[in-house]
């Protein structure tokens, strides 16, 4: 096992280097300029623009810039943003708590909905509950988040005026009032994201349980006289959840990537919106740092998913 882990980690290093190289080359080949706003500004003489470009090393050849970046990263210096001259790691850490809170909660909500609904639907296949659940799941993942987001805003914020729709990280209350406000402003984005993810997860859980529920050992358990609930929870789910757990492990890096559309609609200052605004502003250091972190997380969680799968299912052996 430890040999397997070591081997995987060693393979991860060149693959991460390759990913960072591709990212860097793509970003430098992309058109666009971090100083585009200077272009139509009559006050800014052209020498200033050129001096800024030279200062930030934008005129150096690609391989030089990549090496600079790599060396700096290796030393723990993630660079600073062209736009705000703030350290990139500070920028990311500022946004991390909000991302974990909102996106993490939506993943949890998705699980809390998907697992019970999926399991119950699988135990009564083609019943009314199952049909309704399936239809809702199809509708759920066909409707894009920007549509449901705006729909929720129109209903809950504009018409009913129950919930605020601009997310603010600075709530001035304390204690339970603060908690209440946090929950109030997070309900809509969490619901939008959570329902979307719950829709696809429900289908997946349902088919995983269906695969297991027709096996002989389940019939044996029932014929032993065990109640339905015990059979499902203690016998079926333990096997059905194996693929589900690995799916969840693979989806966790997406939490850090943020949900870009939802963050834009609700103005949640998460890592996704940082990524988009940096891409639009051609702020290369920030984009490199965020995408590289994302790549590392994906590789890491892939490894964890493989390990988990091997551990949960003794039929799988890791070599």
């Amino acid at each position: 096992m430890s040999q397997y882990i070591l081997r995987r980690l060693l393979i991860a290093i060149p693959s991460l280097l390759g990913i960072s190289l591709v990212l860097f080359v793509v970003l430098s080949l992309a058109p666009g300029d971090p100083f585009s706003e200077l272009a139509t500004n009559p006050n800014v003489p052209p020498e200033v623009r050129l001096a800024l470009r030279a200062k930030f090393g934008l005129d150096d050849p690609i391989y030089l810039r990549y090496l600079h970046w790599l060396v700096a990263m290796a030393q723990g210096d993630w660079g600073f943003s062209f736009a705000s001259r703030m350290n990139v790691d500070t920028l990311i850490l500022q946004r991390l708590p909000t991302t974990l809170y909102v996106i993490g909660s939506s993943q949890l909500l998705a699980l809390l909905i998907a697992i019970p609904v999926g399991v119950y639907a699988a135990t009564r296949p083609y019943s009314v509950f199952d049909q309704v659940a399936n239809t809702l799941a199809f509708i759920g993942f066909s409707l894009p988040t920007f549509f449901t987001g705006i729909l929720f805003i129109l209903i809950f914020s504009v018409k009913l005026d129950w919930l605020p729709f601009v997310y603010t990280t600075d709530i001035k209350a304390t204690g339970t009032a603060w908690l209440g406000e946090q929950i109030r402003q997070a309900i809509m984005p969490v619901m939008v994201l959570g329902l979307f993810q719950a829709a696809s997860m429900t289908r997946f859980v349902r088919s995983a349980v269906l695969d297991v529920i027709r096996l002989d050992y389940v019939t044996t358990a029932r014929s032993k006289g065990l109640g339905q609930a015990r059979v499902i929870v203690r016998h079926v789910m333990r096997n059905a959840m194996i693929p589900v757990v690995t799916l969840i492990a693979l989806q966790i890096p997406a939490v850090f990537g943020g949900a870009i559309v939802t963050e834009q609609i609700f103005r949640i200052p998460g890592i996704g919106s940082l990524l988009i605004s940096s891409i639009l502003a051609n702020d290369t250091p920030v984009v490199m740092a965020v995408t590289f972190v994302f790549a590392c997380l994906v590789v890491l969680f892939n490894l964890i998913a493989d390990l988990l799968y091997g551990w949960l299912d003794p039929r799988i052996s890791l070599r």
């Binding site: 706003e37 139509t40 006050n43 920028l91 729709f165 200052p269 639009l280 502003a281």
Partner: protein, 596 residues
């Protein structure tokens, strides 16, 4: 109007014999407007009246929270690195200039004790120096006193080329010297009729010498105060998260009485313009939003919500279609749209005039801009004294078709006009932006009716407006036949706005397309008029010269002005913001209050 009569009237106002308002009313009757009449009085020796600011609160504080929503989040807080208005606004919360422009185009004294004029000795008769008297007793947020040293330092900081400050263009051709602790003199190399540029407005903000002295030149971007500003402004810094949030609190030692009104201040960034409008007008979660680039019909629908309204301020921003004087499809020495070529189709004045007749400005205003635009035939639309009354616009497909027929452009077999084997086919580019794409569609329809084939192209804004030398899609490269976008007028004076199109500023490969004359238009009369206007101290003659410049552009059809765009903001019904077409939204933040 005879010069003598005018001077007699000005003297009359000076002596108090003629009522100032009557003078302005007469000037308006003659076609000059208030700011111009005021400028006339200023150089004639009458102090520019500071507009009575309708500020009602009678004590400092007590106004609760002010929450603003900028749909592009500010990313930095140093006014001299601020490229876009979002960053200029964010810096302006904390820093202040000597004076700012108000709604009517007059100067509003902020850190200056009074506005310089000939009468109080502030302006020299030869227009080569301005003496500013500073307000006594002003303190920086950390308690240190504000003195003339800070003004001199700001000038040194900005003009140091290693600082790469974006405001350097404003401070380059002048010297700033300290006369005493509370007096500063600005000396110009040449007579400068528009003296209210340095230390006024967004790039006029003063920096504290004691905090920035160690961070001049190369080290300028490392200064900790770039992210933790200490200024003289109405609000003191609390917290800054780039692109997300700025928080500030009332400055109890603020130098103006009864100000500021609000106890806390918050500026949230991100999202898009429509949802920002929604947050102000429909749900009332925020008090003010900036730069509402939204179709008017959407805004009208939102306003039915009743918690807020849209407010407008007229400036000089012009949305236009520029016509390329050179050929974008021929490459000379590795350069397209080179000055060595002439445009095969657009060098024919008949074609240019026909294109101008095919832009249906009324429809564009009705369908897209609504209250946010005004139809115009002029490139220069403000201040009023500089607006030409000699131009006109018209929309007529028949006239355009007739003009083209007479010039020899006959429709070919496919309906597209051609002459000498050249087809009338144009590439029309602009930036990606809802209203602009809709305008393109309207214009294309009219062009096609007249037998002109149009290909539409839209480039993403961050690329279109970039100064990237290698990118062929920028507005400066102009590798298209016609292009459309907006150039804002950042101050109530046309000098900078019109100087762009002097022939010596054509954008070429040699100057890395940094030249401001992107249509590569060359007109000797225009050059002469601009050169003369730059040093002309007589305001009437100067205005006449700029009007002539505008008329030359119209006669030559160098540009097709589409819409004189008005600044649009969204404000809560109870808020009283101060919005000027000549200044940024927060340039008079100290005068904002709420009225129940």
């Amino acid at each position: 109007m005879l010069d003598n009569e005018l001077r007699t009237m000005i003297d009359g106002v000076k002596d108090g014999r003629v009522d100032r308002r009557a003078f302005i009313a007469r000037m308006i009757g003659l076609g000059l407007t208030a700011p111009m009449a005021t400028q006339l009085l200023a150089v004639g020796g009458v102090a520019m009246a500071q507009s009575p600011s309708p500020y009602k609160p009678t004590k400092r504080g007590g106004g609760g929270a002010l929450k603003l929503l900028w749909w592009q989040g500010p990313t930095l807080l140093n006014p001299h690195f601020a490229t876009g208005t979002k960053d200029q606004d964010a810096s302006r919360i904390f820093y202040e200039p000597f004076a700012s422009w108000d709604v009517d185009g007059n100067l509003n004294a902020i850190l200056a004790a009074e506005i310089p004029s000939i009468q109080n000795g502030g302006l020299s008769a030869d227009a080569k120096s301005v003496t500013w008297k500073l307000k006594p007793g002003v303190k920086w947020h950390d308690g240190k006193p504000f003195t003339a040293d800070d003004a001199v330092f700001t000038w040194q900081y900005v003009t140091d080329p290693a600082t790469a400050a974006v405001s350097v263009g404003v401070y380059r051709d002048l010297t700033v010297e300290k006369v005493d602790d509370l007096t500063v003199r600005v000396l110009f190399d040449k007579p400068t009729p528009f003296w209210a540029n340095a230390f006024v407005g967004a790039y006029g903000c003063l920096l504290p010498k004691h905090l920035f002295a160690d961070y001049k030149g190369d080290k300028s971007r490392d200064a900790p105060n770039n992210l933790k500003p200490v200024g003289t402004g109405p609000y003191k810094f609390l917290e800054f998260k780039p692109s997300d949030l700025i928080r500030a609190e009332l400055n109890p030692d603020y130098h103006m009485p009864n100000r500021p009104y609000f106890d806390t201040f918050e500026l949230k960034g991100g999202g898009d313009a429509v949802s920002a409008a929604r947050a102000i007008i429909q749900t009332g979660e925020y008090d003010y939003a900036w730069n509402m680039q939204v179709e008017d019909e959407v805004l009208l629908r939102l306003e039915k919500g009743g918690k807020g309204r849209t407010i407008y301020a007229v400036g000089g921003d012009i949305e236009f279609i520029a016509l390329n004087s050179t050929d974008p499809n021929t490459e000379v020495d590795g350069e397209r749209s080179s000055m060595k070529t002439r445009h095969p189709l657009l060098s024919d004045p008949a074609v240019r005039k026909a294109l101008a007749l095919l832009v249906d400005r009324e429809a564009i205003k009705k369908v897209i801009y609504g209250r946010a635009g005004r139809v115009t035939a002029n490139y220069l639309n403000g201040p009023d004294k500089f607006v030409s009354r000699n131009t006109s616009w018209e929309f007529s497909v028949e006239k355009a078709a007739k003009l083209l027929d007479e010039a020899g452009w006959k429709p070919g077999a496919d309906g597209i006009r051609e002459k000498d084997g050249k087809k009338l086919k144009l590439l029309y580019q602009t930036s990606t932006n809802g209203p602009r794409q809709k305008t393109q569609a309207i214009v294309k329809q009219a062009f096609q009716k007249a037998g002109i084939d149009v290909e539409l192209k839209s480039v993403v804004a961050s690329v279109f407006f970039s100064s990237d030398v290698a990118n062929p899609d920028t507005y400066a490269h102009f590798y298209a036949d016609i292009e459309m976008f907006q150039i804002p007028m950042t101050q109530p004076d046309p000098a900078q706005h019109m100087r762009r199109y002097h022939s010596r500023f054509v954008a070429t490969k040699e100057n890395k397309w940094q030249g401001t004359n992107f249509p590569r238009w060359v007109n000797a009369d225009y050059d002469a008029a601009v050169d003369a206007a730059e040093n002309e101290t007589d305001p009437l003659k100067r205005a006449a010269l700029y009007i002539k410049c505008n008329d030359l552009m119209w006669q030559d059809t160098a540009f097709i002005p589409v819409m004189h765009r008005v600044k649009v903001g969204a404000s809560a019904n109870t808020l009283r913001p101060v919005m000027s077409g000549w200044a940024n939204d927060l340039d008079n933040l100290q005068d904002w209050y709420r009225e129940e």
